[in-house]
């Protein structure tokens, strides 16, 4: 089923449920991985993706076909993930960039993370990025999204997105080189 057909089903009140089921089947995995890359922990990603689909259901009656379906879905998922991260760090009142030991300790105890020390440092470097750079990096690198699509999701110009991606990649590289050389 195409996005257009799913949208048609979702916009009709009598077929909305059917359309929603198709939408969940088609996008739950993609959105989960997008969110997981942002929040890192599986348990957190599981909570966020479920909340995200609740928001999608509630937003369906107001969905306008001006934007593509997947663009709209990614925008909701990305915003949910950022909101979750900010809430999480606000609650714990610990800034991630001051807490590398605690971060890697949590990652080591996570049964759904298999990385070695280098990969933990890499994950830490990604998580330490500012919100926007992190969004851009995950979308570009892991989701392999085109800049034009990212522009529609984030509402930022292609030039600014390219700059954000460049800064993000450089920060990660610099951090890893410094950390690995120290070891």
């Amino acid at each position: 089923m195409t996005d257009k057909e799913i949208v048609q089903l979702c916009l009709n009140a009598t077929t909305r449920e059917q359309g929603y089921k198709q939408l969940v089947a088609m996008y739950s995995k993609k959105l989960y991985w997008h969110i997981r890359r942002m929040v890192t922990s599986h348990d957190d990603a599981n909570d966020v993706v479920q909340n995200c689909f609740i928001k999608i259901w509630k937003g369906l009656p107001n969905y306008r076909e001006e934007s593509k379906l997947y663009t709209w879905l990614y925008r909701i998922a990305s915003n949910e993930a950022i909101t979750f991260i900010n809430e999480k760090y606000r609650r714990s009142s610990i800034a991630i960039d001051n807490d590398v030991e605690n971060y890697t300790a949590n990652l080591k105890s996570d049964p759904w993370f298999d990385g070695d020390e280098t990969q933990m440092q890499l994950q830490y470097a990604i998580d330490s990025l500012p919100d926007k750079q992190k969004q851009v990096f995950v979308m570009r690198y892991y989701d392999e999204m085109k800049y034009e699509e990212m522009e529609a999701v984030l509402g930022t110009s292609t030039g600014a997105l390219k700059a954000s991606y460049h800064h993000a990649a450089k920060k990660i590289e610099t951090y890893l080189k410094a950390t690995l050389n120290r070891e």
Partner: protein, 195 residues
């Protein structure tokens, strides 16, 4: 030029994140279950909303009554205060006229009720000197009371010395004025007189 060098690329491509087995198969069902629960909660809230509205209305009415009560109280107190100020500015003649008008507007029942409740606080001298008191009626009440009630020991000594046939006028003459005044000042006398 891509800023990611080959070493970093290999690290990034090495996927380190896993999910529990069968997770994505159950994820869809978990989402539908969560949505169903959300809808149940929303429907419950919708059903309860009339009660919430009624509670709101009751609270609003209670608040309005409270405000009205304290508002009226405040108004009455402010007026009483302003009347007090007016009294202070009045001359004796004005005050006398005002009081006469006010008392004339009261019924006998009102006066009797008031005196019955507050007579203990009145000074008997003021009562006797008042132009509004019926002197004959008071004299009669006092002599009746003297006949019926046990008198103070000093008063009694004078009374017992008097002939048993002594009339009311004589009885009042026999008793020393100061002793009589002291007796009349005793608050319990007025209770016994029914005033």
């Amino acid at each position: 030029m891509n800023p990611i060098d080959n070493k970093l690329k290999s690290q990034l491509n090495n996927d380190t994140m896993r999910v529990p087995e069968g997770y994505f198969e159950s994820l869809e069902q978990d989402i539908f279950n969560k949505l169903a629960n959300e809808q149940i909660v929303e429907k419950t809230l919708e059903k309860k909303s009339p009660i919430v509205k009624r509670l709101f209305m009751l609270t609003a009415v209670a608040a309005a009554i409270t405000i009205a009560f304290f508002g009226i109280n405040w108004l009455v107190e402010s007026n009483a205060h302003s009347i007090g100020v007016e009294f202070a500015k009045m001359s004796d003649a004005e005050l006398d006229t005002y009081m006469t008008e006010q008392i004339a507007s009261l019924s006998i029942d009102d006066l009797y009720g008031y005196l019955n409740q507050n007579v203990n606080q009145l000074n008997t001298e003021i009562l006797f000197n008042s132009t509004y008191a019926d002197a004959q009626q008071i004299d009669k009440s006092i002599t009746d009371e003297l006949h019926e009630q046990v008198l103070d020991a000093d008063v009694l000594n004078e009374v017992v010395a008097a002939p048993s046939t002594v009339n009311d006028e004589k009885l009042l003459e026999i008793i020393d004025d100061e002793l009589l005044q002291e007796y009349l000042n005793d608050a319990t006398l007025f209770e016994n007189l029914g005033l």
